[in-house]
Assembly symmetry: C2
Homo-oligomer: 228 residues x 2
Amino acid sequence: MTVVLYDLCGAEGRRFSPYCWRARMALAHKGLDVDVRPTRFTEIASICDGERKTLPTIEDHGRTITDSWEIARYLEEAYPDRPSLFGDAAVGTTFFVQSWANTVLHPGLIGLVLHDIWENLSEPDRDYFRESREKRFGRTLEAVQEGREDRVEAFRASLTPLRTTLAAQPFVAGAAPAYADYIVFGAFQWVRVMSPFRVLADDDPIRAWFQRCLDLHGGVARDVPTFY
Amino acid sequence: MTVVLYDLCGAEGRRFSPYCWRARMALAHKGLDVDVRPTRFTEIASICDGERKTLPTIEDHGRTITDSWEIARYLEEAYPDRPSLFGDAAVGTTFFVQSWANTVLHPGLIGLVLHDIWENLSEPDRDYFRESREKRFGRTLEAVQEGREDRVEAFRASLTPLRTTLAAQPFVAGAAPAYADYIVFGAFQWVRVMSPFRVLADDDPIRAWFQRCLDLHGGVARDVPTFY
């Protein structure tokens, strides 16, 4: 059986859509025969049932499926005996979550609370912390944190990938919590323990996820001194 | 058997380290008994074998392990019969990769090549594309793309999570390619098909990964018209 893929097409047969490439590679990964049909934007309304607004769209066994994520999920379910699109990826993609946390989330938070962290260290650690961090940042702890009210909106905007994920599923790892959640949780717990500054807006949906994490494992992360 | 966790500690018993929270939650996820030992920065040199530079550090069955990622990997291997830290997370964390691609990678790329895309559409699609995209962006296609030479460095900096991931493993999904790779691949293939503008620096390690993706599945993504 051949899967039909309606593939967005530019001039001279150029296949450019990033979403169609996701589907094209997913079909190749599954080793399925594909009938690729180049389709212009202005032709989409005339394919299949006439109800399609976007590509990629596939036809398989009498079913019509639109949207690259829906297609990937469909292929995984319809062809479980072919190579998995997700199966072996859990550790690797969790590592991507960690790379994002370490290089976007953590630096963003540090700029908002670095001096507060120093203030809440025990006396013997304060000199070490000030010296090592001021060397790393090339500025005083006070200077790094200064103006945070003006910078917090940009920080919140940098959380869009996390917010988008949690709008679609209850945990970073999907339906249930896993290590990917603990990576991101650790960052928000860190600032909650050491600073009264509110890094998230009151209506940020990330807060509901954070509360779900606090409920995990007998509330192990609730039973500690925090600022809020 | 109880696992010993050396946990970074501030004043008044505050447990703040985001990396220690990753380990603490991972241990709780596995349902292991934990002996948590609060440790100051200036005490780290005196724990275990005296060779430890950072926390979290754990001791388990005579082994000493430092670094939250190493600890997570160790726990997964040492306690395979306990709930998995990664096992069910593949789809969810791939969705996080997609959220990042859709909200960081794609908008960044569009700002660099939007007018080039229009130029490489077939004639019947050009009016539709210009009208819909200029409405979406509130500017002309030319204005969106203008000044890209000045903005490309900021775009490249936004790829740090991807670059960090690929410095540690050959594919976004880990040792082998999976749908997470195709999500990111689609974005770079998109601009390569539609624009001569080089979005990556010549020495960017992301390029080697992209070439590995082009080699996949019989080179299916090589056999198309592109600009480079």
